[in-house]
Amino acid sequence: MSGETIQITYREAVRAAIREALDRDPRVFLMGEDVGRYGGCYAVSQGLYDDYGPARIRDTPLSECGFTGAGIGAALGGMWPIVEIMTVNFSLLALDQIVNNAATIRHMSGGQFHVPVVIRMATGAGKQLAAQHSHSLETWYAHVPGLKVAAPATLEDARGMLWTALTDPDPVILFEHVMLYNRAGTLAADASAVPITGAAVRRAGTDVSLITYGGCLFKTLEAAAQLAAADIAAEVIDLRSLRPLDDATLMASVAKTHRAVIIDEGWRSGSLAAEVSARIMEQAFWELDAPVGRVCSAEVPIPYPKHLEDAAVPQVPAIVAAAKATLGQ
């Protein structure tokens, strides 16, 4: 590393990653609705169309099933497609292709075929987009063997996970939380690939493990800061990889803190948080000094008004309270 840094937003970091991938390998191309002339619904791909042209920055019709399937087919055919599904909400239309084709073909063909497709999509609430545009369905994807699923939350990960995902022979789903695109910060000028497996300890602590990912990471770090002010040393773990889960990092943390809270924007029942809790139950039960807590979204279609949207999704005070509760406070 040169030590040099740049100022960059999450959006720009993703864009830089796409650019790098396009430059490095002719097999790479980006496809999706309005990725080209429009510049991407969250402006991630702005400018790429002019630089790489319509074949590699490929606008598609409104056909989530069709173009996602085509991306999977193109991967089978030797390309490394980056399929952008505007948001996870629309990915429901493409699930059959992802679950029944992308995730099965390698195993079902006896290992003959690989599907090196990367599917990126925006996820989450926070922009007052109401019930049909605010889903967090990461847990669904993380349920499916044959897929790898990652959620870059930091600038480093936004910049670095894409190339790793592309070089992976299996289908990788990347979730970008809508509230992260505008986050700005510094990044090493020569930042490049990072692993898509393995959790990261974002803040070390000894009293309670706060386990989270994606859009909730910064809320959780904020909660940890508030807890520190109350003399509680929270360790913050960013799952990063939602499938596979990095059990070793999680259990090492719990073995140290003996307490854990999982923060997850998904609806509580059947959340990824449930899986993490169940794993701690199975692998670290005897380490626990308190039940593992969950801070998740309320079980309701996300409403439009800000006060109700805020009430529906995890917020800092709830995280602080849940952490304190594990300490009997």
Binding site: E33, D34, G36, R37, Y38, G39, C41, D59, P61, L62, S63, E64, C65, G66, N89, F90, L93, K127, Q128, L129, A130, A131, Q132, H133, A298, E299, V300, P301, P303, Y304, P305, K306, H307, L308, A311, A312
Partner: protein, 334 residues
Amino acid sequence: MTDAHPPDNTPQAHKLHLSRTHALHLLREMLRIRAFEERCAELYTAEKIRGFLHLYSGEEAIAVGIMQGLAPTDAVVATYREHGHALARGLPMDRLMAEMYGKETGVSRGRGGSMHLFDAERRFYGGSAIVGAGIPLAVGLALADRMQARTQVTACFFGEGAVAEGAFHESLNLAALWQLPVLFVCENNRYAMGTALERSESETDIARKAAGYQMPAVALDGMDVIAVEAAAREAIAEIRNGGGPRFLECRTYRFRAHSMFDPQLYRDKAEVAQWKQQGPIVRFRRWLEAAGMLDADTAGQLDAEIAQALAAAVDFAEGSDWEPVADLTRDVAG
């Protein structure tokens, strides 16, 4: 492309016996929508309205024309660009504005916002933010009417971008196969976000595409409110008489950005300007004036009425309460 230019300038008034009262009603409806939309844009800038906001300016003739043919017991399924449909269907402007704000007095208790307007009384079924997802619902509503031996019609609005979705295909086939009472209205404004029709469809003649489902389909000038009304009345009468589904492709143009986030890199300012000159309101107004149906006084009065109603709606929204947080999980099963 020959039809890349605004249509010509003569409203098809001969198709209807147009009374002055009705003509002024049509104008008023379009003006109400335009005024509402333009105010929404301001309120968005003022951060009173949030989320996604998709405005209907330029397309008013379609919602207004179609609604003329519907009875109160008919059903309407719209999209996320549906303020115009809601207003033309008779949803009260004040409660619509309250919904834009997210207030409890809104038509959806404030929970839906711009993209999710509902009204059970007027059989207005939204307000769907998933492109194409309203189309199967419309088929089902029509099926329910048919199975209950009612002679109601369901009008289903969607953009030309939705035509590429599988839901469109499956729904048109079902409606035609089962001869259901659906009026499909494609609002072909030439763009789906930034994607021009010729980059989304191998067959750009949408009416011809629809006809491929063995469903009578016509294309018409969607900027001519009279033409739309005439076509709607004819189609609805046929549907109501058991003639099965009908398809109207209304060719139009959206004057504003797709949503408030859209820098419009994909089209020329000149193209927009050219279409605006042929807008549904300017054209109709010009024609009414020429026909002696509209004088300056009446026009001024109309504008004043609308401005007043709009001001009252904004006041109503401003003065309304937020739904209490305690009600967050009211009305949800499971």
